[in-house]
Assembly symmetry: C2
Homo-oligomer: 449 residues x 2
Amino acid sequence: MNRRNFIKSGTAAGIGISVAAPTILQGQDDRKARLAFIGVGLRGRNHLRLALQRSDVVVTAICDIDPEAISKSQGMLTNAGKKEVAAYTNGEEDFRNMVQREDIDGVVISTPWRWHTPMAVAAMEAGKYAGVEVSAANTLQECWDLVDTSERTGMPCMILENVCYRRDVMAVLNMVRKGLFGELIHMECGYQHDLRHVKFNDGKQAYGGGVEFGEKGFSEAKWRTWHSVNRNGDLYPTHGIGPVAKYLSIERGNRFVYLTSTATKSRGLNNYIVENGGPDHPNAKVKFKLGDVITTVIKTANDESIIVSHDTNLPRPYSLGFRVQGTNGIWMDVNKSLYIEGTSEQPHRWESTESYFEEYDHPLWKKHESKAVGAGHGGMDFFVLHAFIEAIKRKTVTPLDAYDAASWSAISPLSEQSVALGSAPVEFPDFTRGKWRNRKDVFALNDEY
Amino acid sequence: MNRRNFIKSGTAAGIGISVAAPTILQGQDDRKARLAFIGVGLRGRNHLRLALQRSDVVVTAICDIDPEAISKSQGMLTNAGKKEVAAYTNGEEDFRNMVQREDIDGVVISTPWRWHTPMAVAAMEAGKYAGVEVSAANTLQECWDLVDTSERTGMPCMILENVCYRRDVMAVLNMVRKGLFGELIHMECGYQHDLRHVKFNDGKQAYGGGVEFGEKGFSEAKWRTWHSVNRNGDLYPTHGIGPVAKYLSIERGNRFVYLTSTATKSRGLNNYIVENGGPDHPNAKVKFKLGDVITTVIKTANDESIIVSHDTNLPRPYSLGFRVQGTNGIWMDVNKSLYIEGTSEQPHRWESTESYFEEYDHPLWKKHESKAVGAGHGGMDFFVLHAFIEAIKRKTVTPLDAYDAASWSAISPLSEQSVALGSAPVEFPDFTRGKWRNRKDVFALNDEY
């Protein structure tokens, strides 16, 4: 059985995670994952750095249109004692050549949003595992492209949503699974991050120092800000919704049914330009379509509600705003507190999450903590790449898949539709075509990956 | 000019708060407010107790269908060194006789929700100030009844929303008015209070001890729980929306345009009955229509958004969940923190509200703090009744009025509509019929009331 067919039948039959092959004895595991990278800017090189720290990864090729990104990556390889690898730099479509190589098992995609789906699709079409940064798709058609391609090719598409692996997020997952919150009722999450210094810079540094974007901007300001000019909706839902989708078993016994989105006026980005570049700066005339705060409310098939906030244009402390609430208790991350009926000592009083998060620390974190330290974003980045690599090594499905990628990413286009329709409810497609009812959870079930 | 015409012209012309009549010299103010009370249960007697502590109030009559409530109230009067007053106890409609008395200036209404509007209307029709507990109305027709009656009679209808006078809420109002948050963008608020021990009791005590409600319940369980059986929507929006409406100048330069509401499944109340009364208790068969968490999102004419949460059936710590966010900063009460750009020392970091709330303590609190202590609900109850009384003494408009009562209370029926329509947006009536554009703020402008 070749890999493609193995995975195809695994996916189709819903087998879930396979156990390690019995011929692999403890301590003698020489399985390797051969990885290629599309996009080796700041984010891609973070993944590359983690890959180079592992003995079970062979980096075989890299792709970027920016020569500086390529040379920095080659430098990382040689600094790690490896040889330089094949580089694909011949224009925006050269990734299509790279993914045809036979020495690649998986492709890590860390490019501007508009390229995520075409690149993931190309990787899967070439028989490679696709690991794609967030969000994975920008339109409903792209969401379907990910699902249809993964189903047709039998290749997994893993959305590399690192926050699913945040330590407190995983401890709460552990608590959810152990029933501490009872039956889940209501969730909150979001992306609340003052990105003004990301959306604008001086064209030389990645963060701040000026009010340029687009052609004159650097790094994310080069492409990300375009979306704030042209789109009004939740542009970046997955850091919040990913963990919540895992708590609620979305696409595995549950699904998103519909959402409403409400956008405020747009003030923050223009204010920032005027304050930092002056009223006469050309960008002070740019009209930003993106409302400063977008509030989305999702209804699920199991009759829960989820508030998803998108808030990236105003001065504020970073917060993903998690809240998990069930018939037996509630957790909120903004005040680092929870309440569990019958366990919390004082009725009607918050208590610190600290002792709970120690007690319910997820087995993955317990086992791999030392490796995760320094990996980036508090260790999350280690785990998300680790999971992609371990799935490749086992030739099995990824713990986050194309259905996850599609249903989470679909929030953006659906949110834009709802905003344009004056907050009218807009239905989610059923990306599993009915399979959500019987699919089993495969995410972080043990301490392996 | 008699009082009715004075107020009518004052209301119509938008004069705002009059200054004290010049004949009233400092320290020689002998103006009195003559108050009657409809409903002297637990809440009504709290107002009565505060009224009896004041030298500027004469209590002239009380009304209740419960003989015990009447006798306890008369006892409070005699204990305070006053004579017993006329009591109206002859059935549910006897309040109509009481409000006709000529020795009443204002009527304080603290009855079950369904009676608020008819009683407030009767008071205004009789030429009396109406002070009505929250929510003031249950249906859109009742909202219009309050507005139309107040306009026609020229008598004010004050919604007695005590949270508008919470100390931190007023400090934030002060900060909003001084521009610390910049232009307001997004708000959050709600009523998040585990009311299971209020909705159910043993028929003898007000809070808990059993799973009875309706005929067999006591105090609020007697009537309030009915709404959880029969209605699905935000049943109790004003504690949250009142303060937010003041921040956003609703009905005074701004207004609510539409809302969407999303309800979760209903689990908490049935669980409580089964756990505390057993699965065979007759109430275990009751189907509760009210979803455990109701999330409402309001869009305003000035293009802000407001999330309003209603969450009364699950175990959780009390929180009104305030968030005030503008172009220059953000406050959240759940973590007692704020961030003000250019003022907060560390960028992207929350700081404690403590020093801000000291610096921006509202003049009303600074002046009346000693009187507020012990008044109930942390002093709020003193201020809300104080404002009603001072408006009566000055023969002027009340700081919260019929338009406030209508637009805040309208959230309940509109929310029910939206939930029934699968979260479709539902428009707010313009209760001011266009006057909202030019009406001036009169709430808590100084240290008087």
